[in-house]
Amino acid sequence: MVEPKDKPLVIGKFRFQNRLFTGTGKYSSLELMRDCMEASACEVTTVAVRRERLVDRSGRSLLDFLDLNKLTILPNTAGCFSAEDAIRHARLGRELLSNLGNPGADWVKLECLGDPRTLLPDPLDTLRATENLVNEGFTVLVYCSDDPVLARRLKKLGAASVMPAGSPIGSGQGILNPNNLRIILEDLKGDDPEYPVIVDAGVGAASDVSVAMELGCDGVLLNTAIASAEDPLRMAYAMRHALAAGRLSYLAGRIPKKLYAQASSPMEGRIAGQAPKL
């Protein structure tokens, strides 16, 4: 027996077999990040754009710890609180990745944040930046709240994928409103089943990844849940298997939930002589 094959995840011109996207932040060492990436089997990892240090550069670069031949790097606009800043970061990310010859030059994970305490996205600037970046030819993956109406707007503007948050970034609260995700999936994939919806942010444990995939999401992006776990390497494996389990479970089609029990063993042929007492 071999495990049934899955179709690839397609986002614009990109195709991936693994549906887990990781982040590169918060690891205690670059070596650990590299090992976790391998353990997770991710094909995509996201990176941030930041000022190069003018002094005290250690010579150790994130780029030395990413397998640029295997990984597609997804530059993000993390930390941007306006459409304008996000657009600048997206352009700089594209420049950096084209210089490195990585296919990730053509896409961007757009983040336009509304406030630093909740890190919730600003929907208005997110819409504005999406429109702009789509017009500039970017494949735009948009971090957004789990608002079904906003998700429809973003898709209509040309977002290659919408990435609703399960819960606030780094909060580890998992998927707080599965019903909103269900509506988003129905709305966006109803007449366009291949349209990718990826849960971004909020994952705390492996079960959250399975839940997202069982709902019918096309992938999950997570960072803190691995990087800040007590044993990040073990958690990276857990995420990989949870994603596979959730995806298989979704494709396999779960049984409907029923109020009453349904025996798995036949009632006929029992040797028990007594009827139920109640």
Partner: protein, 74 residues
Amino acid sequence: MIEVWINGEPRSFPGPLSVGRLIEELGMPANRVAVEVDLLLVPRSEHAGRMIAGGEKVEIVTLVGGGSEGGTCG
């Protein structure tokens, strides 16, 4: 001397100063940085030809660890 702002810090360099020359002076690997002058991206192919004028604001960035507004490592 040319006075310019680099990543928010005032610096002076002997002129004339191109973007390419500036990156060299700072000892940065040209294939691992991207440069913006006064909010506009200067593609690598234009680094040699783009001269920096006094008072211009230069941003030199690279890729760092980050997921969703994550911290950095290394």
